[in-house]
Symmetry: C2
Subunit: 147 residues, 2 copies
């Protein structure tokens, strides 16, 4: 098993970050504008659609201001069954995001791509909250021939 890890700090309250992870409007502001479903209740499924495909995430855990945990229930084979975990921590005037995309069966090339791309989207989330403007798909920063 292999995991993707990131740590980003947002100059905000954890409540603002939590809202951007648990509402359709928030998620559409930093990951993909084409986001539908139920992000704010346990058992709900959110559908994230991108140009080349997408991911369906089932909400397994919600702890307001502290933790959001999704299981991937639809998407690329390598993603199915993996968990995306958002642990939040207020440190002075920073909301610290401890991000983990865990449970990759193998550290394949696509995992390396997703690792870099998650960093780009985490910075989009940071920018959304700090400046009011994220860069969700289709306006995300391209990183390679895989976009």
């Amino acid at each position: 098993m292999a995991d993707i890890l990131h740590r980003v700090g947002v100059k905000s309250s954890v409540a603002e970050v939590y809202a951007a992870l648990t509402t359709i409007e928030g998620l559409a502001g930093w990951w993909t504008t084409n986001t539908t479903g139920e992000a704010g209740e346990i058992g709900g499924v959110t559908k994230f659609t991108f140009g080349p495909g997408g991911f369906d995430m089932k909400v397994l855990e919600l702890d307001p201001g502290k933790r959001v945990l999704w299981e991937v229930v639809e998407g690329p084979d390598e993603w199915i069954g993996t968990h995306v975990i958002w642990d939040l921590d207020q440190v002075d005037d920073w909301a610290i995001i401890h991000f983990k995309h865990e449970g990759w069966k193998e550290p394949v090339e696509f995992m390396s791509h997703c690792s870099t791309k998650w960093a780009v989207f985490l910075l989009s989330l940071k920018s959304l909250i700090e400046s009011g403007q994220g860069a969700p798909d289709p306006n995300d920063t391209p990183i390679s021939n895989w976009h």
Copy 2:
């Protein structure tokens, strides 16, 4: 053991990326302006200095246009003895960088920070080559209270 993985594509030849990894001028253009030492010969040590500290990298492998491998010989405890590996691959008009920072003893919080920060610097390297302008320290993108 835990590894940081990234994949970035640069619209260039692998020779240009290789030069940005094996010359002081190249490295200073995307990672830190305060770079000194020997980056272009096996056994050479390059010293990368940042505001809060730095890293000394010993060159263990060089394969022009294909691979650069560094061992960390000075720096934060968590970095000492880890390897930073750059595998390059020409795919049409893209130089694909397969990046790995391997051998972390534990997936500590500092590793998550470094994972995100490596992504930021890889995009700085991409920008340096594609546009002539990178964002090395002290002009790098801040990602948190740890900068």
